[in-house]
């Protein structure tokens, strides 16, 4: 059964790439404009959250509402302070600068997981630091001293691009772009803080060289939703996709929000933010 989506922020000239629920508002990124915007469902107002974002793509928030962003070309995860400043989390893995973070999520313990593909991008400035040989999911953990440490979590991924953590922190879901052009949705059990062997939940074929899946969320009952070509889909246990909301221009990301996770929000390829009732 499909859900009708309500447009809460109109389409823009540029793509809305990612979104996150902060506990009070829906935050969404417009990388080409170097902007983060926020929508307040109580008042129905939309306002600018941050300018000069450095092209932040993926955004996420922890349970306290702290927002994290993926500055893909700058090769780092940042967080936004209340005084308006922007701090950088740990950027080096075993002494080397990590790759091009594209999408992030935060688990219940406040650990930041992010997809760190190589992507073949050309960063600004002199390219002194080569990309890591592996494209992995990495995890940032904040120590008691406030310092972040970075750890590689996957060793079998080709180009991970989207990540989500189960509500009880029992599994990591990863969309991995394979060498054959197909995407795999994998589930890695999280056992005592490390990942066990993955199982493949679904596969997606590329069409016109566009990634079929670009965003993901885990619903209140543990269901996995993916956003991408054609709209938003629920992934059934047998790997089949059930269309939840159709979007001809494509969905770029999906996130649950509002008290009781009563709604899910979707960003679209034409820059809009949409809302659907979470009867899923």
């Amino acid at each position: 059964m499909t859900t009708t989506l309500e447009v809460v922020v109109e389409a823009s000239a540029t793509e809305a790439a990612s979104l996150a629920w902060t506990g009070e508002r829906v935050l969404f990124s417009r990388p080409s404009d170097n902007e983060l915007w926020q929508f307040d469902p109580k008042s129905g107002t939309v306002s600018l959250f941050r300018r000069f974002t450095g092209g932040v793509t993926g955004v996420t928030a922890d349970s306290s509402g702290r927002v994290y962003g993926c500055q893909t070309l700058s090769r780092r995860i940042v967080t936004y302070e209340n005084d308006g400043s922007t701090s950088v989390l740990a950027t080096h893995l075993d002494g080397r600068l990590h790759n091009f973070p594209r999408y992030a999520t935060v688990d219940r313990g406040g650990r930041v997981w992010f997809a760190d593909p190589r992507l073949g991008l050309r960063p600004p400035g002199p390219v002194v630091f080569p990309a890591l040989e592996r494209s992995s999911v990495l995890r940032l953990v904040r120590g008691d001293d406030g310092a972040w440490t970075l750890t590689r979590m996957t060793f079998d991924t080709h180009q991970p691009t989207v990540v989500a953590v189960a509500n009880d922190d029992s599994a990591l879901y990863v969309v991995d772009d394979g060498a054959d052009g197909r995407q795999e949705l994998r589930a890695y059990p999280i056992v005592q803080g490390v990942l066990d062997a993955a199982s493949v939940l679904a596969t997606f074929d590329r069409v016109d060289d566009r990634a079929p899946v670009t965003g993901m969320a885990v619903g209140p009952r543990g269901q996995v939703l993916v956003a991408g070509r054609g709209g938003v889909f629920a992934v059934n246990g047998d790997g089949h996709l059930e269309l939840l909301a159709e979007l001809r221009e494509g969905a770029t990301d999906v996130a649950f929000g509002e008290p009781g996770n009563a709604a899910f929000y979707v960003t679209s390829g034409d820059g809009a933010l949409l809302r659907g009732e979470a009867a899923v």
Partner: protein, 324 residues
Amino acid sequence: MADHSHPPDGGSESLLDGAVIPTDMEQPALSRIVTESSRIERIAGDLLFGEGPVWHSAQSTLYWVDIFDDTIWKWSALTGRSVVMRPSGRANGMTFDNQHRRVVAGWSSRNIWRVEHDGSVSILADEVDGCKLNSPNDIVVKSDGSIWWTDPSGALFIPGMAGADVQRYRDDHPVYRWSPDGGDTAVVISELPYPNGLAFSPDESILYVADTWAKAVIAYDCDKDGNLTPHGQSFYQLIGTEEGVADGMKVDVEGNVYVTGPAGIHVISPDGNLLGRLLFGHEHCTNMAWGDDDWRSLYVTTLSGLYRVRLGIPGVPVGPEVRA
């Protein structure tokens, strides 16, 4: 701030040590600048991002930075090379004021700082009108003691540059002037896409600004009180598709302008004509400084190295000798 790719292993081909610097697009006037004595000498070859060279005449010492290595270095023919400061807040452009105090563009620290004679450090500017600086890039001191610097936002987005706060607050990429009487700082240029190197003409009647994104050198008339014309004039449009961008810039005593660009260093006559290019092979030139007792040596930083080339016309001195 350099803006082109560099081999990941830092292993660009070295210039031929001891050979006369090769040139192209030569005009006859270049023969007075590049002579048979214009031989290349490599001083350092293990840098990640060389920048900020400046000559201390009383010490016969060259100071420069390695931005990515977060280090300020110095070198003299007598004592060799040693570390001056590490970490440095990713210092970038450096110069000396009229009292021979080193003045530094703090690229990631987002401030302008000065090393006093007792070794202490004074912060001269870190915000203007309540707004943090972007990331000061290159710097020059005028004969009246005023300090001028460019403030693009490169350190806020280039990988590996992160300071404590990478948020950009300003809409523009200004050029600032710090006044020696009272320390007021004011925006003097706000119209450029990405101002980088800057230099005054020998009589200080023109301020040249190299703009990386515009691939050009822009000229502003400057009166004796330091007031600029509201809008700059295009002085030189960089040519070439080789490695290198509009970055560091210096001027010789006859008013020729030297700016980094594709293939190496472009030498421009005072009327804006290209006299020729000093070719640095696959090296990506980032900045330069005049030095040695007669100011006829051009010290050139590249991403990976530091070079010296003797030239026929001396450069405008830096420090107490400036326009003495």
